[in-house]
């Protein structure tokens, strides 16, 4: 057990407020053998003027290797903050995030950002190759890998096109190709399809499932759509309204490979969506009440 603990490396630590990182207790459960990401006592505060606002609190969580892990929660529950801490864009206020050491030279994680985050000044090919070029991967290898993922995302014909010439769905495909081409151990996806129309969303979900079935990477996927969570995920975490805490962890029993439309036709699918909505409804209502209170407070002042 101590050996397992030493195999985990902390790559983000509490830095602000002078707190020491929380020591990690070795977990006894057999799942820990394959544990990929471990959150312990994670908290994130933001300061707005003189007020401290806790976005996330008491996150204790193990994510097993190869899991498609989906986080749903009301807006403002800190789910994006959680992902940003993993991606190295924010630091925890307390607690640790640890990641299993793999010994390979592959990058630890790649993120598909929310909305338009591909470079308008690079064509599709250069965007997809971006992370590989930064790491000085040999040109031949870049050509193979990028060619493969452009093919998988249906973008081969548009390799020389610039983002402004593409539709929103195609731009998001480029973003996905960029993250997959980097071949990370963990893939982070922050509401990647939220800006797309329903048809495009379904198509991209199918494509994502197909590519994911080939690679079986550990995925952390954030969404506000319960349908999307049930369609894609192995495990779904429902979060509370602010501060964001873990409310419920739900296993998704559906077999893979999945077909999005066939899956949605099953009665069990509807039941699961209904169950998750049950957990979520209270939180969404509470989030709405809180934001209404804030608005009233402002207009009253």
């Amino acid at each position: 057990m101590a050996r397992q603990a030493s195999q985990m490396i902390a790559f983000t630590k509490a830095m602000s407020h002078g707190q020491l990182p929380v020591p990690v207790e070795p977990t006894a459960s057999p799942v820990a053998d394959q544990c990929k990401i471990r959150f312990r006592g994670l908290r994130k505060d933001f300061t707005a003027g003189s007020r401290i606002f806790t976005a996330l609190d008491e996150i204790n969580l193990d994510i097993a290797n190869g899991t498609f892990f989906v986080i749903v929660g009301p807006s403002g529950c800190g789910k994006t903050t959680l992902l940003r801490m993993l991606a190295g864009l924010e630091r925890p206020s307390a607690g640790t995030i640890e990641c299993a050491r793999s010994g390979s030279a592959r990058p630890r994680m790649s993120m598909v950002f929310q909305g338009d985050a591909i470079f308008p000044w690079m064509n599709v090919w250069d965007n997809a190759a971006y992370a590989l070029k930064l790491r000085n991967v040999p040109a031949g290898e870049i050509a193979d890998v990028v060619g493969h993922f452009l093919d998988r995302t249906g973008l081969t014909r548009f390799a020389k096109a610039y983002p402004h010439q593409l539709s929103g769905g195609m731009r998001q495909r480029v973003s996905i190709a960029r993250a997959f081409a980097n071949d990370p151990e963990i893939l982070l996806m922050d509401e990647p399809f939220s800006a797309l129309d329903e048809q495009n969303k379904t198509l991209l979900q199918e494509e994502l499932l197909r590519i994911w079935d080939e690679t079986k990477k550990t995925v952390l996927f954030i969404t506000h759509s319960v349908d999307e969570a049930v369609t894609l995920g192995d495990k779904i975490m429902i979060m509370t309204a602010h501060p964001g805490r873990i409310k419920e962890l739900v296993d998704v029993p559906f077999e893979r490979p999945r077909k999005v439309i066939d899956l949605r036709a099953q009665p069990a699918y509807g039941e699961l969506v209904f169950r998750i909505w049950g957990y979520l409804r209270d939180e969404v209502q509470q989030a709405r009440l809180q934001s209404e209170c804030r608005l009233e407070g402002k207009s009253g002042a």
Binding site: A87, G88, L89, P107, S110, M111, F113, G115, D116, A117, F119, P120, W121, M122, Y130, A131, L134, R135, Y162, P163, H164, N182
Partner: protein, 278 residues
């Protein structure tokens, strides 16, 4: 019920575009470029006609045809070319001397808040000083030779390029820098793949403004203590009361300005193919 087109019950709200018919089969890019030539040519025609009709005093406003023949004579003698070459060389050197540091400083100011806080007041305080007002100072420092001319252009180019480059970096969406951070780009990689290309549309604006200002300043600087250059040619022809030559010099500068604008627009088309507005 069949209703024929043009029946009183219906009004045409859309049909083959009238604009399309007007373009005479040219591609729209070609039409755009031709359009930019129309207005300067129209001005020359009006001027010529007004001169011949006696509406303009020939002592002050010789007709374009007289100016062109003076220009032709100067070109044949080689005098025009030697003056133009001297001015263009100073312009090019001044452009490099002023533009390259401006680009670097602008990008550093855009990327680093501390650098911006330190450098910005200096730029804000010196920018409004008329560049012509410091010509005597430059003559004092660099002498009557090439140095003072090049310095004049360099100072003129520096400000628009530096200010626009800073603004260009600051307008880049924060998410692109986060992508760089997330994929562990080094400082140099952030500069090369995000800050510079992202700021390029505004850098080009700065360069175009700088080119215009540089041309103004080179003509001015050459009027003092120079023995060559278009500014000298204009000043000298005033002293000799050779109005035709004076206009020939002014016209040459105008043409250089126009060619530079067209040139930089083309450069922009090549370098910034992703910018929808260009």
């Amino acid at each position: 019920m069949n209703v024929q087109a043009g029946s009183p019950d219906f009004v045409t709200v859309a049909s083959t575009s009238a604009k399309r018919r007007m373009s005479l089969g040219f591609g729209s890019a070609v039409t755009d470029r031709i359009m930019t030539l129309v207005s300067p040519l129209a001005l020359l025609v009006v001027w010529e006609l007004a001169g011949r009709a006696g509406l303009l005093d020939q002592r002050y406003f010789p007709t374009p045809s007289t100016i062109f023949s003076a220009l032709h004579a100067l070109a044949v003698s080689g005098e025009l070319w030697s003056h133009t070459k001297a001015s263009l060389l100073r312009l090019a050197l001044g452009f490099l001397v002023g533009g390259i540091p401006a680009l670097a400083i602008g990008i550093f100011m855009g990327l680093s808040r501390p650098i911006r806080l330190v450098v910005d007041p200096l730029i804000a305080a010196t920018y409004p000083v008329p560049k012509s007002a410091i010509l005597p100072l430059l003559l004092l420092i660099f002498g009557l030779g090439e140095g003072s001319k090049i310095a004049m252009v360099a100072i003129g180019v520096f400000y628009p390029v530096a200010i626009n480059t800073t603004a260009g970096v600051l307008t880049i969406n924060k998410v692109y820098f986060e992508v760089g951070t997330h994929f562990e780009a080094t400082k140099w990689q952030v500069f090369r793949t995000i800050a510079f290309p992202g700021a390029l549309p505004l850098i080009m604006t700065g360069i175009k403004l700088g080119a215009g200002l540089g041309l103004v300043l080179i003509a001015l600087a050459e009027m003092v203590g120079a023995k060559q250059g278009l500014g000298y040619m204009i000043w000298n022809s005033w002293e000799l009361l050779a109005v035709d030559t004076m206009y020939a010099g002014v016209l040459t500068i105008a043409v250089i300005g126009f060619v530079l604008t067209v040139f930089f627009n083309e450069v922009e088309r090549l370098l910034v193919p992703w910018n929808r507005t260009s």
